[in-house]
């Protein structure tokens, strides 16, 4: 076995090794946290789709995401209703409305879902009882999202305020969350929706929800439905539309850029730290490296030694970085009481590990130049 020169050189200088590991670990933590937040945000961005009691979604191709859904004819869902395997079709109306905080009397846009109270549009348990449906049917009555921001004011049942200059009463609550699209949401019946967004034609729907029979495969059904419908609507499975919205929020807004920038900065910091360490290490061993060259070692050997050192630093720094990141993830989860679901995934683990190797490799490649230049004739 070849003498593990790279490893022994690193281990020999305990302090330097400690600093190097801390530096790499620091960069690893920064990367993990940025990716964690990004992942959590992308998770919450379109989380409310999970609460829709549907397998396929019809949406206008012009929609960027759900809040910008352009209305299309309700006939589209009636066309789908006859397809084999389709259990139910439901219309969904969405729009923003000005909600007045009854205490501060300040208006603020809130996101409204309009549904047919007879349809099981949502899986939300609060909406399943006959009593809840009856409340929804009452004029000027809405259900209010508990996860709305506190700026919207009191959420108790019976609270009276105004929405777009029309009286409104809170008839109940549910927990949904507006993701990136909205600070708060309300659910109302289609009749109320028509009234508040007067005149809103109910034959123009924002999203068409299709519930499939249990044994039907969503992807196959989607293809069948797509074939049937004209091009003024697009058909997505639940995963498909979540991915579509998520992609919009992360990539078409600055969200992805901000956290991507965070990752890039962390990597640059890591590269600089590792470079410093490697460079110092090489500088203090210049005579020895030159002696190796005089003995007959080629530059390639020294090249590999430095690259080995950088990979060793990457691995040694990644381990504590990963462990600390797990702890920080847990702390974040606890601190945000679960609303920011930062969780470690295997993909992210592998991705960050490769990124760390890459980061240290870059440092190695930058500093390796010095060792290549070690001139054995200078040692005499």
């Amino acid at each position: 076995m070849r003498t593990p020169l790279a490893f022994l050189n690193l281990v020999h200088e305990k302090t330097r090794l400690g600093v190097a590991i801390a530096g790499v670990a620091f960069a690893v933590i920064l990367v993990f946290m940025n990716l964690g937040f990004l992942g959590a945000l992308s998770e919450t961005a379109a989380a409310f789709y999970a609460q829709f009691n549907a397998d396929l979604f019809l949406i206008s191709p012009q929609a960027l995401e759900i809040t910008t859904a352009t209305p299309f004819p309700i006939e589209r869902i009636y066309q789908v209703a006859g397809v084999e395997g389709v259990e139910d079709v439901m219309p969904l109306y969405v729009n923003y409305i000005q909600w007045r905080n009854p205490e501060t009397r300040e208006n603020r846009a809130i996101f409204a879902f309009g549904i047919n109270p007879d349809d099981p549009t949502f899986l939300l348990p609060e909406l399943q009882s006959a009593q809840a449906r009856n409340s929804l049917r009452r004029p000027n009555t809405v259900f209010f999202d508990r996860l709305s921001r506190p700026e919207y004011g009191p959420q108790e049942t019976g609270t009276r305020t105004e929405a777009d200059r029309r009286d409104v009463t809170i008839g109940g609550q549910y927990s949904l969350g507006g993701g990136f699209a909205a600070d708060g949401t309300i659910i109302m019946s289609d009749q109320n929706f028509r009234r508040y967004f007067n005149p809103f034609p109910l034959d123009q729907i924002s999203v068409g929800l299709i519930k499939l029979e249990e044994e039907v495969d969503a992807d196959e059904a989607r293809l069948a439905v797509m074939e049937l419908l004209p091009e003024d609507v697009e058909v997505y499975t639940k995963e498909g539309i979540i991915a579509r919205d998520r992609n919009y929020w992360i990539n078409a807004t600055s969200t992805g850029f901000i956290f991507g920038m965070g990752v890039a900065v962390a990597l640059v910091v890591g590269v600089v730290i590792v470079y410093q360490i490697l460079y110092t290490d090489i500088s203090s061993h210049m005579k020895q490296y030159a002696t190796l060259k005089a003995m007959g070692y080629r530059s390639g050997f020294l090249f590999y030694t430095v690259l080995q050192e950088s990979v060793i630093l990457a691995v040694l720094g990644f381990i504590p970085g990963f462990i600390l990141s797990m702890i920080l993830y847990q702390l974040t989860l606890t601190a945000t009481s679960g609303t920011l679901p930062v969780v470690m995934t295997l993909t992210r683990f592998i991705f960050v590990f490769i990124l760390t190797i890459f980061m240290c490799g870059i440092s190695g490649l930058i500093s390796v130049n010095k060792v290549i230049q070690a001139d054995p004739a200078e040692v005499f």
Partner: protein
Amino acid sequence: MTDTEPGAGMNKNSSVAPIPSANGTATAVAEPVAVRIRDLNFFFGQGDLRKQVLYDINLDLPYGQIVIMTGPSGSGKTTLLTLIGALRTVREGSLSVLDQEIVGLGRSQLVDVRRNIGFIFQAHNLFDSLTASKNVEMAIELTEDWQEKRERAVEMLTQLGLSDRVDYKPKSLSGGQKQRVAIARALVNQPPLLLADEPTAALDKKSGRDVVTLMQKLAKEEGRTILMVTHDNRILDVADRIITMVDGRLETDENLAQFVSSHDPKSLDRRMFVM
């Protein structure tokens, strides 16, 4: 003769005839020699800054000879040593090391030549992170001998009297011990040619003496050629031959007896103190 003669300095004002003389090595017959140098010129720098440091060197080093090279600093001794050691590329003249012409060779080919040469430097240049044995093993690994490298390293260190220091790191070794580890590293692959630059400079008298005696023993027993640059006149007695360089030229080439007589204190020259 003793190893220390207080007045035996290096008198460059020697009256001995110029090279080659005493040993009759520069014969027309091409007998095998470890190093054969013909009309070698060497320059540092390029263009206007080009400065010649070696002029018209002619030198043969037969196998089994211990040659000490001496001369004032800046005379080109070390440069000549690095050229023979294939550590620099040479362009002018002819320089044959171990029957391989190295003038005009590329860097990669020079590395192959170097593998047959042992180097001993003024500083030991050992890796602090490696034990004595591992430092020596680094040299053995060049020969791809993975199985026996440990035994060979230990055996070599034992020959140099370090059997109880095999697994010590340089930090725990004395100066003389470190230099002996460096010598073990240079000798372990049994190179036919050994180049040493001031191997005793960093050592006290006794360690220095031990080191050169060891080198002498190995040279005699195994027929190696040793070329040593030194200012240390305490060790001149190990030499078969002493050559003096002055201002980039070979000034004198004598055997020990001639050298001693020409450097007799009675004919002491003030200029020896220039060194």
